[in-house]
Every structure is written in C-alpha cells, then in structure tokens.
C-alpha cells in the first residue's frame, strides 16, 4: 500500500497547476457573481445581491435557456447511448481483426478541429445546404426544412461530436463483462436476449453511466458547436454566458450562470455515481 504522503506528492504537480490556473480564477468569480451590474459603468462598488442567481430561475428567458441546455444534454446523451451501444458491442465482441479499424474510425473525427467539423455540419444542414438541396431536387419537399439554429441542428452536431467518448467508455465496459458469467446464464436457461438484459447490460452499467456523465457534462458545457449550429439567437447556457461576458459585459450575471452550470454538472455527476453503485450491486 502506498503511503498517503507519497500519494500526495504524486498528485502535487497537477494539483498545483489546477489550483493556480483553474480553482483560483473560478473562486475569484464568486464575489463577482454577487455584485450588481450598472450598465455603462460596470460593477457597483460595495453592493451585494442575490439577484443574478434568482434571475436564472425567475426570468422566463433564462429559465428557458437552462431547461433547453438540460434537455439538450439529456437527449444527446440518450442518442449517443442508443447509437453507441451496438457499435461498442461490435467492437468489444466482434472479430478481432475488425477491432482496430473500427476504433480508428470512431476516433478519427476527434482528430479534426471542432470548428472544421461544425462548419461541415453547416454546409450539410443549412437552408441551401446539401441535405435540403438533395431533398428538394428529389422532389420530397418543396421548401427547405429548418435543420439549423434549432434543437435538431444542435442534436445532430453534438451527437456526432460526443459519440466517440460514449463508444470508447462502453467498449471498455463491455470487454470487462466476463464471458463465463454470460455462459452461466445461458446454461441456466437464459435465451440470448435474456442473457443480454439480465447479465451483459447490468454488468456494463458502470460504463453506461461513465459514458453518459461524460457526454452530458461535455454537451451542457459546449460552446463552439452550439454557437455555430445554434446561431446568435438559439442559445444554450454556455453561449449565453459567453454573450453576457463578451457582448453585454454583464460579468455578474455571466458569473452566476457559470456557477449555476457548474453546480448542475456536479449534481448530475454525484447523482449518477450513486445510481451506478445501486444499479450494479456495488452499494
């Protein structure tokens, strides 16, 4: 067993970097989030208020953005899970010689810049983009379908970008499910489907939850893709925070939103880790 002191020394470099360049700046935002913003002159001195936080819940527009962000996070996670599980299963259980090519295919999009990928989706999804042009020329639709600057566009783009994370997590989890345990269920009378639902799925639960947490947190905090595919008006929390800071110069409101987003993310992670423990019988 490694001593606590040696353990601490091993994580010290990273902990120091994180403390200096992440924790301290974030904490410096904390007072800002309780300040009052005076349009034109900046922060009001010596005045503290909770309004920046209460507004997130009471203001209809903010509330809509928060719910939209959560909804987007949930749906992207679900779609990634549903699309990713069969693929991960194939990679984990399929022929050995398919494994590397398939994993490379999954990872490949991650080697391209996020902006490039988002532009790619714009070229495909815009009103005069590839998809709409094709559908119109085939005579299937007469007017272009709105695929961008709305939930559809964000869902498509974000699912594409975060699917690899889900798949990689699931591959590891499915490969960890002992084949003997599945064989045991089969000899005890389980059909293939029942083996999957009663053994494979619960035993890969840790991977399902880890992948879901990762995709969810990445989705709700993503900035570039929502900005490009959502446009200036269809906002999620990350783009809203960006605009509060950079365009409205309303730092207190931006800070409060940032903290709200962080707390939501931490809350979700905490909830899911508790779920994992119960679901996989590790409680």
């Amino acid at each position: 067993m490694m001593s606590v002191r040696r353990g601490l020394m091993l994580i010290a470099p990273l902990a120091l970097v994180l403390a200096a360049f992440f924790l301290v700046p974030v904490l410096m935002l904390l007072p800002t989030s309780f300040s009052e913003y005076m349009p034109g002159s900046g922060l009001a001195k010596g005045v503290w208020t909770l309004e920046n936080y209460t507004r997130i819940v009471t203001d209809e527009y903010y509330r809509e953005v928060v719910l939209r962000t959560l909804g987007l996070g949930l749906s992207v996670t679900l779609v990634c899970l549903v699309l990713g599980y069969p693929l991960a299963f194939l990679i984990a259980r399929g022929p050995e010689r398919w494994r590397l090519p398939l994993i490379l295919l999954v990872i490949f999009p991650m080697m391209l810049n996020l902006v490039v990928r988002s532009f790619g989706w714009i070229a495909l999804l815009a009103n005069r983009g590839l998809v709409n042009n094709l559908l119109i020329q085939m005579g299937l639709i007469s007017a272009p379908i709105k695929l961008m600057f709305n939930l559809t566009g964000l869902m498509i783009g974000m699912t594409h970008i975060y699917l690899p994370f889900m798949v990689l997590m699931l591959v590891a989890a499915i490969r960890n499910v002992p084949r003997d345990v599945e064989a045991a269920a089969a000899t005890l009378g389980s059909s293939r489907l029942h083996v999957f639902t009663s053994v494979t799925l619960p035993l890969s639960a840790p991977g399902i939850l880890a992948g879901s947490i990762l995709v969810f947190v990445l989705t709700i905090s993503a900035l570039v893709t929502p900005r490009m595919l959502g446009g200036p008006t269809y906002r999620v929390m990350a783009t809203l925070i960006y605009d509060e800071y950079m365009q409205l110069l309303d730092w207190p409101s931006g800070s409060a939103l940032s903290f709200a987003l962080t707390i939501m993310a931490i809350g979700i992670i905490w909830l899911s880790s508790r779920l994992t423990k119960r679901w996989a019988g590790m409680a």
Partner: protein
C-alpha cells in the same frame, strides 16, 4: 438424470483438430473425469456438451435426446466454472434462484428449492450476501448450488477447484463427491489434476492432443496405463531417454542411456526406435539384499523427505539417474548420499513413448 454419450464427437478450428472424433458413454449417475494437460481438448469437449461451442462432427446425446443442435439454454445442464462465474450484481439467493426462475418456478416452490440448494452446500445463512462478500470456497459452493437448484440432467465441472488453495481443495473434493453420490447425478468433471480425477471419479478419460488415450477406472489408469503418455502423465514418473533394443512378443528390452538394459512387459515401438522410457517412482524399489539378480547397481545422489514418503535420486552406470520412492520409515528411510544401493524395476512398470526430440 440421464446418461451422456458422444458419438464420433470432434472439433476443428480450420485445419487444426482440437478434439479427434471421440465416442464414449457416461452411464446414468456416473462420475467421469476428463484428465489431461492444458490444450488437450478436454475443456472443448465440456463446452460442446454445454452448447457453448458447436461441434464440427458427431453427436451429443443426453439420455436418448440428440442435443447437438440445441442452444445452451435448452439443454437442461448445470455447469460450474473455474472462475465461479457468479452474477456479481445479484445476491447469493438470487444467483441460486436464477435458473429456477428461467424454468418458471415461483412463489413458495422457488423459495423452498433455493433454500434446499443452499443448505446442500452448507450456505443456508448466506442468501442475502453478495458474491464479493464471500471467500473463494464459498463462492464455488454457491456456484454448485446454483447449478444443482434446477435439477439438471447432467452436471458439468470445468476445473472447479483449481482456484482454491490446497487444503480447501481436498475438503471440496470430498464434499463434491458426497453431493454427487447423494443426488445420483450424471457428472462430467474436467481437470488437469490427476489426484482430483483419480480420487473422485468412477471412470477417468485421459486425453492428449485431442485424442482419448484411455477411458477406464482410476485403478486401471494407474496400474495398467494403456499408452506411454498415460504412464508419463499419471503418478510421479521417471522419464529417461533410451532405445528399444529388442522385441519379444508384446514386450522386449529397452536400454536407458548407453549401459542399462531393462525388460519391459509391453512395448508399442519396434526394435531400434529412440523412445522416452517411463518408470514410476514408486515402481523403483530399493533392495536390501545387494546380491539379488537383475538388480541395478548405483549410489544415492540426493535424499528428499516429504512427510510420509522419501525420494532418493540414485545415480546408475553411465550417469543415468532414477528417482526411487519409499516409505519414510523402515530400513531404507535414512540412507546417506554416496551410499551404494541396488535397484529393481518390475517389467510391468516400464513403459515407452515416442521420444520428445524425435517427434511423435
């Protein structure tokens, strides 16, 4: 409970035959072990019986039903794995209930049979635990209860005791055999441990390279090995390279090294073949009467005490060494190194097999 038979059962991967057309019948209620080194095909046979591996040739029958094409869940077998393979996300109770639920046993009947099965393996109070809260031996007993609870027609064991420590393994051997006898359930037990196979089985099948070398009672396997391989695999053999000097009837004379000639009662190879000569350690006797004819002159090179037995490494003419085993009390129990001795070997206990270097 039913008999289990194989008819010309074989399995190949590509051109490589891992199981070579084996036919045998395990009688109702019989305990049969398949014994062999790793890679001999014994586990493949077991997995074919369980339906986890599809045979390339031949048929598997349980009773009079041909189950060759049935999926594992339709075969009505119990399988116990080396890795235990318990469901880690279910309690012990639910592990045992799993197979019963698949057979639509429910309510009071289910509860009764789960408790019966747990009581059989002496784990009645462990129902609410999770597998990871149990020791290895307890986990394996849960696995046995889980396999027994649905009252399978045939029970299969895949090296079930290999992960347990020595003392626990001995206890489990006795416990398993008692259970099997009590239930009278047809059992196929796969192991690489000859002690396990000999002590538990009604009959033992010794396998090498996908071929059944001998299928007989433990006594026959031990005292009357059918092939040199069986002789070399069972017991504690001396293995010395040599040559078949001459043949006479079933037997002949073999030469160890370049000086020592021994009669052998049964030989498979013609005269002049280079062979490995197998002589079991307990078949090499230390003679107290040095003048007895046919004795081999030698000196003690090493003495090794192992509780109830003593082993001597004896150096013979031409540098050939044989290990002789004897009881650790009596006249020959404490011979010092360099003591001159005379060895005698029964012709019945000398076996030959193709020389390792020369190929099969």
């Amino acid at each position: 409970m039913s008999a289990l038979s194989f008819e010309q059962l074989g399995k190949s991967y590509g051109d490589v035959a891992v199981v070579n057309d084996i036919s045998l019948t395990i009688r109702e209620g019989e305990f049969v072990s398949l014994l062999g080194p790793s890679g001999c095909g014994k586990t493949t046979i077991l997995r074919m019986v369980a339906g986890l591996v599809q045979p390339s040739r031949g048929r598997i029958l349980i009773g009079s039903d041909d189950v060759t094409a049935l999926p594992p869940n339709k075969r009505g077998l119990g399988l116990v794995f080396q890795s235990y393979a318990l469901f880690p996300h279910l309690t012990v109770y639910e592990n045992v209930a799993f197979g019963l639920r698949r057979r639509k046993v429910a309510g009071a009947g289910l509860d009764k049979r789960v408790k019966e099965a747990l009581a059989m393996v002496r784990l009645a109070d462990f129902g609410q635990r999770y597998p990871r809260q149990l020791s290895g031996g307890q986990q394996q007993r849960v696995a046995i209860a889980r396999a027994l609870a649905p009252r399978p027609r045939v029970l299969l064991f895949d090296e079930p005791l290999s992960n347990l420590d020595a003392q626990l393994r001995d206890e489990m051997q006795i416990e398993l055999k008692r259970l099997q006898r009590g239930l009278g359930i047809t059992t196929l037990f796969v192991t690489h441990d000859q002690g396990e196979a000999l002590s538990m089985s009604d009959r033992v099948g010794v396998m090498a390279k996908g071929v059944m070398q001998q299928f007989a009672t433990p006594e026959d396997i031990y005292h009357r090995p059918a092939t040199g391989f069986v002789a070399s695999f069972i017991g504690k053999p001396n293995r010395v390279s040599g040559i078949v000097v001459s043949r006479a009837g079933k037997g002949g004379v073999v030469r160890l090294g370049n000086a020592i000639e021994l009669p052998a009662a049964s030989l498979d190879q013609p005269a002049g073949t280079r062979v490995d000569i197998i002589i079991r350690q307990e078949a090499v006797r230390l003679l107290s009467d040095r003048s007895e004819p046919g004795g081999l002159q030698g000196t003690i090179a090493l003495r090794s005490f192992s509780g109830s037995r003593v082993q001597y490494v004896v150096r013979l003419a031409g540098g050939v060494e044989l290990v002789a085993e004897t009881a650790s009390h009596g006249p020959n129990a404490a011979l010092a190194p360099e003591t001159p001795v005379v060895l005698s070997v029964d012709a019945d206990s000398v076996f030959t097999m193709p020389s390792e270097g020369a190929g099969a």
